[in-house]
């Protein structure tokens, strides 16, 4: 007889006698046509070393116009297609992810936020410049770009500020907005479909550019969500939607997808029970990529046993993990940020300055460890 349910997702619940199912470093794939089996487990890609930056860990990756940039340790680098790198400037190190955004072909600037400060890299002149404008709202926790403006989220506050149009070196301290509709601080600031999602500790508001010459951004009427976010970087945008792990005054540790302005729960009780056992989710880093028709949402939780991955196309969860053969335990997958550059999925190492090519034909999952 066919083993019922042999191909499946990670659905282990705390009561093992109910369900002990796990799938690690495989993901369920649905077959089409008239297959022998309607579902099978495909191997997750391996980590093919691409380059090792001068400093680690890799805190951000960004790609644009066939150029790739990375923050490794406290430095900004350009990663070249020939698997080398160029040091661009020091951006400071705080252990958290850095953010890189661009004002595109009009401004040709990269806006880097790291260690509470802001930096501009000019894509035309290759000039790296710390932002010294007194109007810049340091310390900032992350940056973003919408409609010609760079945006800086002031750390531990409910305020964000905008740059001069297409110029991230100039900031007017009066070009600031306070998110009065939310309670607590704004943890994350995410541009989605030219709208600005401001995720607080228990609620979320969505703003948009309304063209006001005094300050272009304003809340969208009705776009108010009774769900905040549990960490600064526990969000990602893929498949035309925002994904994050939510939190509000009722609780947290639930994964959501935005459907319009409504949060749609995507985590299962199995995932939520696993997350409930983790010491904290406040340092969660979320990233995503699309490969072979699958949009994967990756939740890297440093204190968890494994990295949890939601496959948008199958709506199934699987786990990715690095096996420690000495301690005989699973540990989280090494990748914690991603960029699609040089026609490759590049991911940055959470432990070192290594950048890997996420490659289906590679069967290794990282560096030589130990010693």
């Amino acid at each position: 007889m066919q083993y019922p349910g042999f191909i499946g997702a990670s659905d282990r619940v705390s009561a093992r006698t109910v369900n002990a199912e796990r799938v690690i470093n495989w993901y369920p794939e649905l077959a089409t046509g008239t297959p022998k089996a309607k579902a099978w487990l495909a191997p997750t890609p391996g980590l093919d070393p691409f380059v090792v930056l001068g400093a680690g860990p890799v805190r951000a990756l960004y790609a644009e116009e066939n150029r790739c940039f990375a923050v490794g340790g406290g430095n900004l680098y350009e990663v070249l297609a020939n698997q080398t790198f160029v040091f661009l400037g020091a951006v400071g190190m705080d252990g958290r992810p850095a953010s890189i955004s661009s004002n595109g072909s009009d401004g040709r600037q990269l806006f880097v936020v790291s260690n509470g400060d802001g930096f501009i890299f000019d894509l035309t002149t290759d000039l790296f410049t710390p932002i010294i404008d007194d109007g810049f709202p340091r310390p900032v926790s992350m940056g973003a770009f919408i409609d010609g403006y760079f945006l800086a989220l002031q750390a531990q506050s409910d305020k964000f500020q905008i740059s001069e149009l297409e110029n991230g070196l100039v900031w007017d301290a009066l070009d600031v907005a306070q998110v009065s509709h939310t309670t607590g601080i704004v943890r994350a600031m995410v541009p989605v479909h030219r709208e600005l999602w401001l995720l607080g500790t228990s609620t979320t508001t969505v703003w948009a550019d309304i063209g006001d010459p005094d300050f272009p951004f304003a809340p969208i009427p009705g776009a108010f969500i009774q769900q905040g976010i549990g960490s600064l970087f526990g969000w990602t945008v893929v498949d035309n939607a925002l994904f994050w792990h939510g939190q509000n005054e009722d609780g947290g540790r639930v994964a959501y997808r935005a459907q319009g302005y409504q949060p749609q729960r995507i985590s299962t009780h199995a995932v939520e029970q696993a997350w409930a056992e983790v010491a904290t989710l406040q340092d969660t880093v979320c990233w995503s990529y699309q490969d072979r028709g699958h949009a994967f949402v990756v939740f890297y939780i440093p204190s968890a046993e494994t990295t949890w991955v939601y496959d948008v196309s199958t709506q199934a969860w699987h786990e990715r993990s690095l096996w420690d053969p000495t301690a005989l335990v699973w540990t989280p997958h090494l990748a914690r940020c991603h960029a699609f550059a040089f026609d490759k999925h590049l991911v940055g190492d959470r432990q070192s300055g290594a950048i890997y090519h996420l490659d289906a034909h590679t069967h290794t999952d990282g560096v030589l460890e130990g010693g």
Binding site: G5, A20, V23, A55, G353, D365, L368, E369, G370, G371
Partner: protein, 554 residues
């Protein structure tokens, strides 16, 4: 007692399989003979250790060893009695070992010669590479290996051969190396697997070519004295010259380090009490002094941290200390190392931690004759995180009481902490590695697990005759790990609470598309959970599983 037959290179005894031991009488009719052995380098064996001893320990006989090249006349290592010696060997190349009586015994002398293979343990991040200088006359250049020490045991884990012989070199976080080759005035750049990337000719160099990694920039800083001009140079990790400055310095510095922005070279000259000075590489002019030294110290090594702080090793003073300075030159901390000997003029050295790690640095010094000590020191508070002593071999010759089969490190060369060698291909020097994979090597292969749903028939006993896995077969590799892939099957008979022993299910070799992957006679249970695990480096596509079972009635 007959006279020995192996009394010339032409009649040398052939050294057989390693480890090799041979005992013979070398005295006959009042003559104490010189005897010869011949060893031919074999594939996968990168070096040997040779020792000779009075086999009985009685009488006056003391042998010494002279080591010759393939012609049997060119001396590689001169006569010595401080056996053993350790040397690198090339494949299909002959070497000759002459054992002469340093002190003869004309009545009865028995010789025991031992030849041991160099170790071939796997090398992982954090191991310590020490190459050899081999600067003396003779023909030792090109015959001494670099050794890789296991820092937790102090023992040689493996060797690299051939490898540049010189006093300076360093490694970048990406595993690329630059090493001085003293005899030829070359700077040799290596890939993480020790393949030579490029050789830069820096003749005529009138002093050592000094090298220091700049981890932030991923570059190497170099100083070389040519035609009475001291030059500062910066190279990419693959040996491309990025910058060269002719300076007005009166001599070559003792040590250098490049600033994190690449604009300033810090240096200290080779005189006692020389300050740490700066050179502006942009304007090619002398900058302000960075920090003074005290007590007539020399700065043997400097390291640049990511935050701009600088570590300087003060030697030729008692005790040897390392000082940590802020980017502005303010003294932040002093780490006391110890009172070091200066064997053959070798001074204590310093190195970055693995992969340019910023929490600790390494030192290498000489607390007593024949002993070299490496230590890992925590930067924040000076805590010594690791101390390990290792035997010293100078110019290939053991400097202390070293047992046959015990290898060691040269005493006057850079120590290099191997960080993250992540070559796409196995390092070439691993050719000689043990075929048994280490945990670390094993860790590189992705481990995949599927734990399937419960099999439960209303809590009645079920007998399982076979479990057969449906997966894509015939995908094995042609050779090596993955050529005979297996699936490990485990069963839990209590609903996933505890697990039984693993059973191996062979998947079949390359092209065996119809191989059956199954396990038989699995016993019975009321609430079984099946789990499969794979870790061989092949494309694992899992389609499903079949069970041949028989429901029980109770």
């Amino acid at each position: 007692m007959a006279a020995p037959s192996n009394v010339s290179a032409g009649t040398a005894l052939v050294v057989g399989a390693l480890p090799y031991t041979h005992t013979q009488s070398v005295t006959d009719a009042g003559v104490c003979y010189t005897v010869w052995y011949q060893y031919t380098g074999t594939l996968g064996q990168l070096g040997i250790q040779v020792s000779a001893a009075n086999a009985t320990g009685t009488g006056t006989y003391i042998p010494d060893i002279t080591y010759y090249a393939a012609d049997g006349t060119t001396v590689i290592l001169p006569p010595n009695t401080l056996t053993p010696i350790q040397v690198g060997t090339l494949v299909a190349t002959d070497y000759y070992i002459k054992v002469s009586p340093s002190v003869a015994d004309l009545s009865a002398a028995s010789l025991r010669v031992e030849v041991h293979p160099t170790p071939t343990a796997p090398v992982v991040a954090g191991y310590v590479l020490i190459n050899d200088d081999g600067q003396s006359g003779w023909n030792v250049q090109g015959h001494l290996p670099g050794v890789i020490l296991n820092p937790t045991t102090g023992e040689v884990a493996n060797i690299v051969f051939p490898l540049a012989q010189g006093d300076f070199g360093d490694i970048l976080p990406n595993g690329r190396l630059a090493l001085e080759n003293f005899a030829t005035d070359d700077l040799i750049f290596y890939a993480p697997n020790f393949d030579v990337v490029t050789t830069v000719d820096l003749t005529p160099a009138t002093d050592f070519i000094r090298v220091r990694a700049q981890n932030t920039l991923g570059q190497f800083a170099v100083t070389v004295r040519q035609s009475s001009v001291t030059k500062f140079k910066v190279y990419s990790d693959t040996g491309t010259e990025l910058l060269s400055r002719n300076t007005t310095l009166p001599s070559n510095p003792q040590s250098i380090v490049l600033s994190n922005d690449g604009g300033t070279m810090y240096y200290a000259l080779q005189v006692g009490g020389a300050a740490i000075k700066t050179w502006n590489l942009t304007t090619n002019t002398a900058g302000a002094d960075f920090a003074a030294t005290t007590g007539g110290a020399r700065i043997s090594d400097m390291l640049m941290l990511d935050n701009g702080e600088l570590l300087a090793m003060n030697v030729m003073v008692t005790p040897t200390v390392v000082k940590r300075y802020s980017a502005a030159g303010a003294l932040l901390a002093t780490y006391t190392i110890g009172t070091s000997l200066l064997p053959d003029g070798a001074v204590p050295r310093m190195a970055y931690d693995a992969a340019g790690g910023q929490a600790a640095f390494w030192v290498w010094w000489f607390p007593s004759d024949g002993v070299a000590r490496m230590q890992k020191i925590q930067i924040s508070d000076g805590t010594v995180l690791l101390t390990q002593d290792t035997p010293v071999y100078e110019e290939g010759v053991a400097q202390g009481d070293v047992a046959p089969g015990t290898f060691g490190a040269s005493n006057s060369c850079p120590l290099i902490i191997i960080g993250q060698p992540i070559p796409s291909n196995p390092p070439t020097f691993f050719v000689s590695s043990s075929p048994t994979p280490s945990h670390h090597e094993e860790a590189r292969y992705i481990r995949r697990l599927r734990r399937a749903p419960h099999m439960n028939n209303e809590n009645k006993r079920v007998f399982y005759r076979t479990f057969e896995l449906d997966l894509e077969r015939g995908q094995a590799l042609a050779s090596g790990q993955g050529s005979e892939p297996v699936v490990l099957l485990r069963l839990s008979r209590d609903g996933g609470q505890t697990w039984g022993e693993e059973q191996r299910m062979a998947v079949g070799r390359l092209g065996e598309y119809q191989a059956r992957v199954l396990a038989r006679r699995l016993g019975h249970g009321r609430d079984l959970v099946f789990e499969v695990v794979v870790s061989d480096p092949v494309a694992w596509s899992l389609v499903g599983a079949w069970l041949d079972l028989e429901p029980g009635t109770s």
